[in-house]
């Protein structure tokens, strides 16, 4: 059974592309066959975040328009033998494809892949409608900011209106120090407001910027907190029951050492 998952948010800049790349790499590292589709036509980014920008030959619109075979447009990620990327077109606009065509494409890919993951553009217009057309379920990415939470609520309403009832929340860039002093909404606060189930919480982590700079996913970095969070999310997507990690760095082993040195 293959699974088509759309990563969406409404608001831009909350981490959809980073999430897509890390979930893709994480699932592939766990032995799943994965294809990632960048549906942000005109603003192609998944390729550069993943470090595959120099290998783009054909793109999503080429495939839809029949300019090339689907197989020849898929970029194989050499680091993960079962991970593939279908990049967005950079020179076309979002109306170059239709929801029906996207659905057909997703269904065609179901035969060969365990997971088809769609990186959705920001906004609620045609790009969003294209991205969700073929999806079985959705991950709604938000950050603990009023603007991102409000947009997430709007997106949840639109997913339901388009017949997607299986959606879970990913709270990104949580800063425990700020949550502790009451200056940032916690995941509980956000779940309370949005009223949907959680797939995971990713702590704010400078290594995310570093990994994007280098074009390497963080999910395979053993020591990274954000990497661990993404690994947990991958396992939950596969149906495992993984407890939420403790985001408080002062509690773990490293935190314990830090406390000793301070005293």
């Amino acid at each position: 059974m293959s699974d088509v998952i759309v990563i969406t948010s409404g608001k831009g800049g909350v981490g959809k592309t980073t999430t897509t790349s890390n979930i893709g790499a994480g699932l592939a590292a766990m032995g799943k066959k994965v294809v990632l589709i960048d549906t942000d036509i005109g603003l192609r980014n998944l390729d550069i975040v993943m470090g595959l920008e120099n290998r783009v030959v054909f793109n999503l619109v080429d495939v839809i328009e029949g300019e090339c075979k689907l197989k020849s447009a898929l970029i194989k990620d050499k680091r993960f033998p079962s991970l593939f990327l279908l990049p967005a077109a950079q020179t076309k606009d979002k109306d170059a494809v239709t929801p029906e065509q996207m659905k057909e494409l997703c269904d065609e890919l179901r035969d060969s892949y365990d997971y088809i993951i769609l990186d959705c553009p920001a906004g609620i217009e045609n790009g969003f409608k294209n991205a969700i057309a073929g999806a079985d379920r959705a991950l709604v990415v938000t950050t603990p900011e009023v603007s991102a939470v409000r947009d997430a609520d709007k997106i949840i309403g639109m997913l339901s209106a388009h017949g997607i009832s299986d959606y879970r929340l990913l709270v990104n860039r949580v800063r425990v120090d700020m949550v502790k002093r009451g200056d940032m909404m916690s995941m509980e606060d956000i779940m309370d407001i949005l009223g949907i189930g959680l797939i995971g919480v990713v702590p704010d982590d400078q290594d995310i910027i570093v990994s994007a700079n280098r074009g390497e996913p963080i999910v395979t970095m053993e020591k990274s907190r954000a990497g661990e969070a993404y690994r947990n999310i991958c396992r939950r997507l596969m149906g495992e029951d993984v407890p939420l990690m403790d985001l408080d760095p002062s509690k773990g082993l490293v935190g314990l050492f830090k406390k000793w040195f301070k005293n």
Partner: protein, 90 residues
């Protein structure tokens, strides 16, 4: 200084964020016309047991109003229900 005001000033910014979001989402989500009609007719059913209502001038809507401590806006269901006659209780 008022006891509650003192507390309100100490409200953390995340509490302010939550309050504001809850209020704004109430407006964003909206209450559908269908649901509003259902609410109206059910309120009417209850009131009809005790009084006669001027149905055509009935006005029920969701708005914002100042909270009891006057510190913030909260959502409220406001109903303006003109009464024709109060029924005699047996």
């Amino acid at each position: 200084m008022d006891f509650f005001k003192f507390f309100n000033k100490n409200k953390t910014s995340k509490d302010v964020a939550k309050d504001r979001l809850k209020l704004v989402l109430m407006g964003d989500r909206g209450v559908s016309a269908d649901l509003m009609e259902t609410i109206k007719s059910e309120i009417m059913q209850v009131l009809n047991k005790y009084m006669e209502i001027q149905t055509d001038e009935l006005d029920i809507q969701i708005t914002k109003t100042q909270s009891e401590d006057g510190e913030r806006m909260v959502p409220a269901l406001v109903a303006n229900i003109p009464i024709k006659n109060v029924k005699k209780r047996n």
